[in-house]
Symmetry: C2
Amino acid sequence: NAELTNTTELEIPGTVAELMEPALGLLPEQATVQDAIEYLRNSDNARQITYLYAVDGDERLTGLVVIRDLLLASPDQPLSEIMLPSPFALTEQMDAGDAITAAVHRHYPVYPVVDGDGRLRGVVRGWRLFERQAIEITAQTGQMVGVDKDERVYTGFWEAFRMRHPWLQINLVTAFAAAFVVGLFEDTITRIVALAAFLPVLAGQSGNTGSQALAITLRGLTLGDMKDQPIARVLRKEALLGALNGLLVGLVAGAAMWLYAAQTGAAGAPMLALTILIAMVGACTSSGIFGVLVPITLRRFGADPATASSIFLTTFTDIVGMGLMLMLATTLVSA
Amino acid sequence: NAELTNTTELEIPGTVAELMEPALGLLPEQATVQDAIEYLRNSDNARQITYLYAVDGDERLTGLVVIRDLLLASPDQPLSEIMLPSPFALTEQMDAGDAITAAVHRHYPVYPVVDGDGRLRGVVRGWRLFERQAIEITAQTGQMVGVDKDERVYTGFWEAFRMRHPWLQINLVTAFAAAFVVGLFEDTITRIVALAAFLPVLAGQSGNTGSQALAITLRGLTLGDMKDQPIARVLRKEALLGALNGLLVGLVAGAAMWLYAAQTGAAGAPMLALTILIAMVGACTSSGIFGVLVPITLRRFGADPATASSIFLTTFTDIVGMGLMLMLATTLVSA
């Protein structure tokens, strides 16, 4: 599973080049501290300079000079003696997501950006990376239900409509699949009509259980927590959580069904309650599993792990849950 | 609605004091540039100093000195001449969320923190605020379905169970409310059993439509976009989006129901199709409205706008949608 667990970068579109601004404060590495101070005094842009960058004869970045260190050094020292050599740098072609992952543990105010040959091409300010990250992460909740990551509350009506509607039609097609499964058991529902009222309960309950697993998996992918977590361990935990949650919820729901069926004088109240209980355990267990598998699978196929994940999840859980309940009812409950 | 629209701070727990570290580099405002340079040269912690802080005789923060400006000034100038006077500062009691909102447009590497009398108490590094923000935002998706904001993918089984389970029981109670509504129309379902298969379709469809509105409203609250948006405008837009999406999805769903009913020789196929269409428009319109109202209302009552929002939303949409469909079917479709 090494391949699966190695998929934990942030999903941020675009490259570093898009967030870059021109680099100021380039100096040859042989320049002295006094040269650097003169450079700053004569620069029109001194106030925008956070670090100085030392470069070699081919404009390759060889070091980073913290301006505070100019004060601490003697004036005739060369920059090569006080610079931080081979400093961390982003590359132009780097994905913005990879850059954020690299930056999140460094927290520098400014990052130098180099090309393939190590030549300094510009800088990216740290807050730009974080700002991009915040905007991206807040898009996830919407992406799960088919909202485009570019939509904001001020997006126009028709643009919002154009971006959201296709996913609602896709959701309808997947809902038809679940309805088709229910349709196979029309005779059972005619016989035990209380099952109809329980279909949305089961769908809602397993959907919510699966959404919990989905949310925690997505959060793990986004924050990089999944790096240290074997997928098998996460799957086992969510399957067991689904089973236990399904059991306790199923006991309450089954008891309610028993009471209801007994009160209305329906036949087979105990078996009906057992049907609800088993269906709830089965539906919630599988929804816990799907909650982990959907985002992991989306990621594996190169998609954003959040994209329509809630739509895919409910499709699976509805079909499994309602199919299981109606099959059990058909088998277990005699008229 | 001024009160409602004025509720757009980020929902981050804790205060600035929790993120604070001791301030280094305090100097009297009368000190000269040369004094400051000597201070830095003799300080053991010079490498951790990003700015110097100028204070008056009562230790009140009066200015911020950028170290680069020490290089640009003459040695005998007092700090009061080169400092940024009355600099922006956080206060100890400030909510972390307010601090992030203030920082997001400033992007300083370090923020001074003062007490109620303006005395410098410490500093907060900018990346700490952003890191806190990223962790908070990634919690939203889970909070919507009853996952605690402290749960991560590595949280233990029993802790995850303890935090998630109560919300699933609450979800069950709300699902019973919807099931109760469905139960009121048992006779109608017995008569037109195809409606049973359509209950989860309608619930899923209006739930997804409402989740889109909910997601975009939450995103607006988190990113501060709601500041410039009157609630009435957002409500009208989401209601209309729900209506249009419901109309187009309802046409497809109604047509499918018509075909299905006609094929199985059920009576009243056209009226059944009309029932589906109207119910879908009604359910999706109200779910668009609920998608905006749920987080706004949670916020208004002092809660996190994401908390269990999806659970509340689906409760409303299920009751309205399924109730409407079954009521219409009872009235419109003759056996």
